[in-house]
Symmetry: C7
Subunit: 105 residues, 7 copies
């Protein structure tokens, strides 16, 4: 089973950064309000313009994205927690140096 | 009797997942605030654009959709509880592997 | 006397379902917050678009419509309570099987 | 002296229905929150569209209109209380059977 | 010195009606919440439309206008209190019978 | 160093009127909530329209402008307090008689 | 790793001005609510217009910008705190005299 989001929504799988202090203490989720990171696993067909056409999204499947901690709605599918966001809740796409190298090559 | 929703509204029949813990305790509805799943049983003719035309909806009858627990309004018809939602309250369409196979075939 | 609603408004006459439990106890209005049903008895000429034209409404006189309990404003005319709603407050049109048969015939 | 309302505003003179119970007790204004009725005595030149043109209003001078009790702003002119409303605050136009006859004739 | 208002703003000089009861008691300002009257002494060049053009205002210098008691912002210039309003805060223009006669002549 | 404001923003240098009563008592800022006056020292390139073009502002560098006491955001640059406003927060431009003479000449 | 912001967002690296009083006391961040300064290190492709096209931003990489203290969302990348802002939260671009000289030359 998979989710096909509508219009300008995307489905994101969170990447839970290991929240551990230097001394090894694990910080519970509610104690750190940083933006979250995740991987886009599905995108909608794009926002509907006022003339009825749809514009494709800027993010695409596989993108590593940053978003606010309280953005979107959590959905559980096949026992896995996913997040359904609107594209405008996405702050940016994280590009690794590798990704850049690929573009150069 | 049936409901014909207007414009960008859809009528959804909830699929009540069995809310039971591993040890068999049934969780009452108010204790679980996850998004809900349902089947679209009727759709409106589409949102009205500013030039007066209507654009058809992205969801169609038979789609399994996800939506927020408090989205829409409950309607009772023929003793059956239905939900009338705006299409923008729908988070996404659940596609089973079977559905995908059908598309391939 | 009758009311001619403006633009995208409609006048609806409520159909008060008999609110009685199986054991015969009558439930007062404030105890049941279900959507209401009514019959459209007058419609406006349609919503005004941004270019000045008006688009006719999707509902028409005689339609059995569903609406939220607190939608619209109650108006008393000739001793009869009527409801003036905007069309977007209407959840859907109830179609009986008879209505469908008529369409087929 | 008279008031010329701007754009989509209209000036309405309330018709104060005699608020008296069967036993002759006069009900003060604050105790009855029904919509009010009035006669349009002046109208603006119409709402300004986004392209700068103005569309004439649907109501015209002499119309008996219904409006919410708290709509508009009261203005005192020549010792007379008038109400300045936006057209969208008007629920509908009351048409007497006489008015209809005139149209037929 | 004078104020040139921008876009859809107008500068109005209040006409303070003598607030005195029949028995000669002067009513302080805060005790009477009626709309106010004033004379337009300057107008902006008009509201900017979405295509960049400006549409001239409906009110003009010399108009006697009505407005809500709390509309606009008071400005003190040359020791004189003036009011800067948006045109949409103006309820209407008061036309004296004289003004009408002038139009006829 | 100077600030170049974006789009419809302007940079204003306040003109602090001497707030002194007749008897010589200096009134502290927080005790007088009149609109403020200032001189425009930089303007943005204009508001972006929906078709992507920019319309130039109505105010220009050197204009003496009036604005609400709490409008805009204070910025400190080179030890000098400046105010960054949106153009729509400007109530009007103060024109001295001298300015008018210059226009005539 | 770097962040590629979407649409009208920009990534800014704060320039923390040394907040020290004349007598050498360091003022903690929460005690000074002045706008902040930073350098733009990445920009989105521009705001999407209603016809689907994108207009490039007015700010560009390298610009020294001013913004409100509570604007945007903080993101931590490679141990470095960055700020993701919408362009409309930027008050203006700080131009040093050097920058001007370069333009002249």
């Amino acid at each position: 089973m998979s989710i096909r989001p509508l219009y300008d929504r995307v489905v994101v799988k969170r990447i839970e950064a290991q929240r551990t202090t230097a001394s090894g203490i694990v910080i519970p989720d509610t104690a750190s309000e940083k933006p979250e990171q995740g991987e886009v696993i599905a995108t909608g067909n794009g926002r509907r313009l006022q003339d009825g056409t749809q514009v494709p999204l800027e993010v695409k499947i596989g993108d590593q994205v940053l978003f606010g901690k309280y953005a979107g709605q959590t959905v559980k599918l096949n026992g896995e927690e996913l997040l359904v966001l609107r594209e405008e809740d996405i702050l940016g796409v994280v590009e690794s140096s590798d990704a850049r190298l690929k573009k150069v090559a």
